[in-house]
Each structure stands twice: as C-alpha cells, then as structure tokens.
Amino acid sequence: MTQTSASGTTRSANGAAPPAVDLTGLHKYFGHVHAVDGVDLQLSSGEIVAILGPNGAGKTSTIDIILGLSQPDAGRVKVFGMEPRQAISRGLVSAVMQVGGLLRDLTVAETVEYTASLFGGGKDTRQVLRQAGIDNIADRRVGRCSGGEQQRLRFALALLPNPELLVLDEPTTGMDVEGRRGFWAAIRKDAENGRTVLFATHYLEEADAYADRIVLLRRGQVVADGTSAEIKAMAAGRTVRATLPGASEALLKAVPGADSVEVRGETVLVHSSDSDAVARYLLTQTAAKDLEITARGIEDAFIALTGDDAESGAATMGAVQ
C-alpha cells in the first residue's frame, strides 16, 4: 500500500506510515507496585483514543513513557517510529498536563514567546493568543490567571509545534461542566485536521462522548480496547427482552450465547454478550415478539471491567464522582 501525505511525499520504505504510538510489552515498576504490566498498544494517525481507568490503573505512567518523561523497565516504545525524545524534539508530540507546568512570574504572552522560541520560533505570539482566545489576558502574569485561563494557555502551548500527536492527561480536572464542554469542542475541532489525540481520563462520559476508541486499563493491564459501544457490550453485554408466552427456562438456556435468562410471566430477559445471536434465535426459532435490545451504560462496563468485584467497583465510582 502506498500512502501519500498532504505535501505529496511518499511515505517510508515499506509504504506504510509508522503508527503514531507503538507500545510493545511495556512494564514499569515503582518499588513493589507494578504500575504498567505488559501493555501493548498501537495508535493509528488520526484516532482519538481515551485511556480510561480508575486512579492507580497506570494511565499516567503509560503516558509518561509515551512522552519520554519516564523510561519503561521492560518493553519497547516508539512514537512515529522513533524514540519519544526524538519525536518531541521534532515537535511531533506535545501534551497538556493537568496541573502546573507554567511559570507564575511570566506573563501569558511571554510564556507563549518562550515556548515558541524553543521550537525554533517564527510564530506570531499575538496570533497564537488570539486563536486560543486569551489575547485579552496577554500581559497578565500566569499566577494571576484562573484555572480555566491557565488551561487554555497550556492548550495554546501544546499546539505551538503543530504536533501530529496531542497527549492530554486528565485535561479537564477542576473545570466546570461548561469549561469541559468548551475544551472538548476545541479538541474535536482541532482533531478534524487529522491530529491524533490520546487522552487519559477517569470521567466515563468524557471517554464515551469524545473518543473514537477507548482503552480500559486496570492494574497496569489493558482489560478492554474498542469503541465505546464495543466496550459496553464486552463488559455488560446487552439485554434482550421479548414477549414469549409459555417460555420455559430450560428451553431458553439453549439460546446461543446466553449468559443468564430470566422469565417474568410472559416476559423473557436474556442477558448476553452476543445479543444478535440471541435475537436471531428468538425471532426465528420461537414465537417471541416485541423484541427489545438494550445496552447497559458505560459506567456499568467500567465497573465490571475495572473492579475486583461489584463492591470495589462501586467504591471506585464513588471516588470518581
């Protein structure tokens, strides 16, 4: 396969572009804690991917390795086919971290000027500020800016090198609902130009709403990887509900792919990770009618996949919200 970039140059020798991120057998220990436990992950260019998991699942450790801020104890990490540090020095990767990362005694404009100069300069500071919607606070010291203003500044800094991969670690922590919505609208709009976006979050609805793909981490391992719909189905399956007079549980146990069956009078509830097969069976092999298929929410999936059991899952949710 031959792919051609916007500038018209043909891609690397074997014809395929290297993946934006390529993690193979990644391990990271902090003392006795196995923070990252054999993570394999490939991101293609243009994907918007969420790393979702409870606190301590290894999200930040994985991101730090991708950004070259930390070295894996085992495994291989490639970003656009190179070492993270190389990709960063070429401006291919940048990141927005959740807190800090700004000098309080510089002004907003100076911070942009400073960072732009490190990437080789040639940027019009005023224009960058205008695009980020912070030109009105250009001469304000960073320390006097609100949390939301600082986050916009971080975002503006991250876009300075026009990165191919943008990494966001819990980017909306501390933002109100409106701020979060605005932030994601900006990211979405930006990603339309083909930027790969990888973000870590423990806000389920964020992953659900904004990611093309969700990677679920639990105790340093990838426990699920797929679209939001796939994740929901994988964890909780779907519930097929139908009206079937005279149904017997014994008969319904024969349904392909059924995890559990419940009969309430004339109503049958079949829980399955392959709801299509169940529906097909019910509609073709039985007299079932009024069939409904419902997915469980992503929160249920999250608990099912990341909790040790229902109880600890519930505790995790409590901490998250």
């Binding site: 792919q3 960063i88 000098l103 510089l106 100076e110 400073y114 083909g194």
Partner: protein, 267 residues
C-alpha cells in the same frame, strides 16, 4: 464514524539547533530574574549599600595597599562586588528550584530544549545578574571618588570577580536541585553571609582567631576572594587558593549533575 487514513508528514520535521538554546529565552529569563524584587535588592542594592557604609571610611582612601597599586576603599569595593556577584549567580542557579516546584522543568522536557542547553541558559542568566551586580558596585565606587586604582585594575578585578562568580552558579544549581523551593532563597542569603564572613569578604581572615582562620581557609569563598584581590595587592598567587576554587568547583558541579540526573530520572 470512520477514521480517515491520515499520513502525517513527519519526514520534514527537524529539531531546532543548539538544543533549543536561543536569545529570546535568555532575554525572558533575565527579565524573570530581575522581576523578583527581593532578588534584585539582595544581590544589587545590598552590596552597594554595604560599600557606601563600610567602603568610604575617612582613612580608607588615604591607606594604600599593594605597594601603592590602590587604596583600601578599592579593596573593600572588590570584596563587596564579589559578595553581590556570588549572591546573583547563586540566586540565578537556584531558580531551578522554583521551576521544579511549579512543574515548569517537566514542561520543558516536552520541548526540544536539551538539559545541557537549559543549564547553559541558567548559567548565562546568572552571569548577567552577576555582571549587573559588579557593575553597580563599581559604578558607585567610581562615583563616590574614594576607591582608587589604575584603570587596568578596575577592569581586571571587575572581570575576575565576574568570571569567578561562575563557581557560585554551580553552587546555586546544586542547591536548587537539592532543596525545596519554599526556603531555598532565604537559605541562600544566610549561607552566603556566613561564607562571606569565613571567606574574608567583610573582615580580613587574618583578624580572626587562629582556630577560625584554619577552618576559614577551607571554605568556598576564601580562595576566590584571595584570587580576585591578587591583581590589586600584587602579592602573587598562593597555589592553595587555586586548589580551593577548583576543589569547590568540582564539588558543586558534581553535586549539581548528581541531583540533576536524579531529578530528570524520576516520575
């Protein structure tokens, strides 16, 4: 939605030269350093005030030193210029402590700036403030018309003080990587006051008790203070002063590199 096949244009990307070092950053770093009012007062105003208080004694302009090379006022001026310069460079180096605390050094690691270029920027920034400090004391020295030595000695000693203060940029970096930000600046003021007394910047070491003198000769400002006065005194260089400066340079630099490595390895 289907993800369109996108091929990023990565082959045209180049890392900037000099590890990201550039003059814009140097300008902004100097501006930052001078923006901190307390730093400017301690590193520039205080040495000048000390010179006005202690360097203009009635008899100092009459007393000559170094076989008539200059007078005591000039001697005190060099001492206080050194005091200001080492405060400046130590502060400049120790600013890394604030940058670490605010997460800025981590942010910089997400840019092309290399660690070496970063350290070079820190040291050059420290030297700019150090030069300002020396210049301030020397200008006041000239304006008050008491300090006297040849033009060559004004330039030579001023330059020696400035270059010598580089030793304390390494000291500042070491402290900046070693200590938390909340107290590093106050601590530096205290440590340098003690080292200045021990090094003979305020009172000649020869006036201390013998036991104190024996200890003072091992402290990091002693050798440097002796060396920067050598051109004025014209009494030749004692090799122990050179050893003192070099030994402390090795200690501070090794310490700074050790802490720096530890700092960048973590997380």
């Amino acid at each position: 939605m289907t993800t369109p096949t996108i091929v990023p244009d990565i082959s045209s990307r180049r890392a900037p030269g000099l590890g990201g070092f550039n003059l814009t950053v140097l300008k902004l770093e100097v501006r930052r350093l001078t923006r901190n009012r307390r730093t400017v007062i301690i590193a520039i105003v205080v040495p000048v005030a000390f010179f006005l208080l202690f360097g203009l004694n009635q008899t100092y302009d009459k007393q000559s030193v170094g076989h008539g090379n200059g007078n005591v006022s000039a001697f005190v001026m060099i001492s206080l210029a050194l005091y200001g310069a080492v405060l400046s460079t130590t502060f400049g180096g120790a600013m890394v402590s604030i940058e670490r605390a605010q997460g800025w050094s981590r942010q910089l690691r997400l840019t092309p700036l290399t660690p070496v270029a970063y350290i070079v920027i820190k040291v050059l920034t420290a030297l700019v403030l150090g030069a300002t400090s020396v210049a301030a004391v020397y200008i006041v020295g000239a304006a008050t018309n008491k300090a006297s030595m040849s033009v060559g000695l004004w330039i030579g000693t001023g330059f020696s003080v400035w270059i010598g203060s580089l030793l304390f940029a390494a000291f500042g970096l070491f402290l900046g990587y070693l200590l938390p930000a909340e107290n590093v600046m106050q601590l530096i003021g205290l440590i340098l006051a003690l080292l200045s007394f021990a090094g003979g910047l305020f009172i000649p070491v020869s006036q201390y008790a013998q036991a104190v003198q024996d200890v003072a000769k091992w402290t990091p400002l002693y050798g440097l203070n002796q060396l920067v006065h050598t051109p004025l005194l014209g009494n030749g260089v004692d090799w122990t002063w050179v050893v003192n400066v070099l030994a402390w340079l090795v200690i501070f630099t090794t310490g700074a590199i050790w802490r720096f490595r530890k700092d960048t390895a973590q997380v």
